[in-house]
């Protein structure tokens, strides 16, 4: 039973996106293509566990998806024309196992069209590029299946209404559109890496999906420094994975991590790719983020961290993305380089905008403690705790409150 669904997950990942893309291209109808592939996956989920995994699962999915498309088209008389196209596609490609061109990049650009909200983008990517079922997508986002189903329907309606063309954008907005795709994958990674939901400290499936997408993008756009940057960023985070949680499943902060547990070989290998990208001078948002992660990954200890270099990289990031969270992280790096006083001054202008962000208050607490202002620090930690939904993060803050000796006052 488990084997069948694992096999399906693997084939869905390899083939679903290709299939949705090639059907979208030949039928000119993303919604129809996407629904048909989804139907095929749902059917596989139903029949594979008992009947066994077919000999050629990829071909099975292709045939099933095409049959589902035919069924859907028969039901709507107005779409007879597409039926002919579909039949021609069958003839051209044979009944099974055709080589479909890799249109997944196009599909990714379509799913990440700026008219769609980030949530909608992520839902569409997971369903149509990675072949997750609506139920699986709903679970990943910790919402109910009907809510997710509605979100997907709305998103697809938008794609249709906005007449988003099925092509890789070129021209002036090409870079902005790529950044949109990368940002979606980045949000997916973060969502999974440290989820804000109440049940799971880490949702590794989402992390795996995001990493898979990043490597797909690297294969499709190998020379693009931002794509390399995103992949390096993920790789460097994952290299530190073994040290992120202790045996009880509690978060271990970077400062306290056992660096001997980090995957040195992975870090070395990543630096090679990162260096080549950095040498081109094309220093975008994700390449700079990766460089910051590399500063941490290469520091022998917390105390030997090159905060000067990190502050410089944040300066560059602030030029690229003037977001309060980037400024917050820059202030934290500054507080390590120049002391808590300087860090606190940098936080001041962010206080209003980030008041609901728990890490703002946690950072503030850290700086106040650095200056021996323990009572004010305690108030900030309490505020951070109030704002945190993630159980592992909550326990971390509770432990800190308890160890302050002022707990309960």
């Amino acid at each position: 039973m488990k084997d069948a669904s694992q096999a399906l997950a693997a084939y869905a990942r390899d083939d679903a996106g290709r299939l949705v893309a090639s059907l979208t291209r030949s039928l000119g109808d993303f919604d129809l293509a996407e629904e048909s592939v989804q139907d095929a996956i749902v059917e596989a989920l139903r029949t594979w566990p008992d009947g066994g995994v077919p000999d050629k699962p990829g071909a099975w999915l292709r045939v099933a998806a095409r049959r589902k498309a035919t069924d859907r088209l028969r039901r709507s008389a107005t779409q007879q024309r597409h039926l002919v196209e579909l039949a021609e596609l069958d003839v051209a490609g044979g009944a099974a196992g055709i080589d479909v061109a890799d249109d997944r990049l196009v599909l990714l650009f379509m799913c990440c069209h700026p008219t769609l909200s980030r949530e909608a983008q992520l839902a569409l990517i997971l369903r149509s590029v990675l072949g997750l079922t609506t139920a699986q997508v709903a679970k990943a986002f910790l919402i109910t299946e009907p809510t997710m189903a509605k979100r997907i329907v709305r998103a697809k309606r938008k794609v249709t209404e906005a007449r988003i063309p099925f092509e890789v954008p070129t021209g002036a907005d090409a870079q902005a559109r790529l950044q949109e795709v990368l940002t979606s994958v980045y949000v997916m990674f973060n969502e999974g890496y440290l989820s804000a939901g109440p049940e799971h400290a880490a949702r590794t499936d989402l992390v795996d999906d995001a990493v898979w997408l990043a490597s797909l993008l690297t294969r499709l756009l190998p020379d693009e420094p931002e794509v390399v940057g995103l992949q390096c960023l993920f790789a460097l985070h994952r290299a530190r994975d073994p040290a992120r949680f202790d045996r009880q499943g509690e978060i271990v902060l970077l400062k306290d991590q056992d660096r001997s547990l980090w995957d040195r070989a992975a870090i070395e290998a990543t630096l090679g790719a990162l260096n080549a990208a950095l040498r081109t001078g094309q220093h975008g948002f994700f390449l700079c983020q990766a460089a910051i992660a590399a500063c941490h990954a290469t520091a022998k200890s917390w105390d030997e961290t090159d905060w000067g270099l990190i502050v410089d990289l944040y300066d560059r990031l602030c030029e690229l993305a003037d977001s309060p969270v980037v400024h917050l992280n820059r202030a934290i790096a500054l507080s390590h380089r120049d002391g808590g006083e300087v860090g606190l001054a940098e936080l001041e202008p962010l206080a209003q905008e980030l008041d609901a962000y728990h890490l703002f208050h946690a950072a503030r607490a850290e700086m106040l403690k650095q200056l021996g202002r323990d009572r004010e620090a305690l108030a900030c930690e309490r505020r951070a705790l109030q704002l945190t939904a993630n159980p592992a993060e909550r326990r971390l803050l509770e432990r800190r409150l308890a160890s302050s000796g002022l707990y309960g006052e």
Partner: protein, 118 residues
């Protein structure tokens, strides 16, 4: 004075990895320092040579061919445009580039007339 540093990459020699950590720190520092001193006007990668097209002329008719003008194993990977006080400063910056097997830098002044006219 404005200069272009052309970062020339020789793919044939870009194989052996040596001390990636030190290289990383040096390269980030190099760019950060120049940016901090406001000497970089712009910097960026050039798309791969595969994306290059060459326009040439037969008599007076332009002919576009795919691929780079020069066949070479070397390729210009990136460009850094500098604004510095002197020729010596531009050369000095190029010399301070964290050296690495497989890379060369071509330093070219940008003609005064070129940018004052824009």
């Amino acid at each position: 004075m404005k200069y272009a540093l052309l970062i020339v990459e020789d793919e044939a020699e870009l194989s052996s990895l040596s001390d990636a950590e030190r290289e990383f720190q040096e390269i980030v520092r190099w760019f950060a320092d120049l940016r901090g001193q406001r000497k970089v006007i712009a910097s960026g990668r050039l798309e791969s040579r595969k994306a290059a097209r060459t326009v040439s002329w037969k008599e007076r008719t332009p002919v576009v061919t795919d691929g780079p003008f020069l066949e070479a194993k070397e390729t210009i990977a990136g460009v850094v445009l500098l604004d510095v006080e002197s020729d010596a400063a531009a050369l000095g910056i190029a010399k301070s580039w964290p050296s690495r097997r497989g890379y060369k830098i071509e330093v070219r002044p940008i003609s005064q007339a070129t940018y004052e006219g824009c």
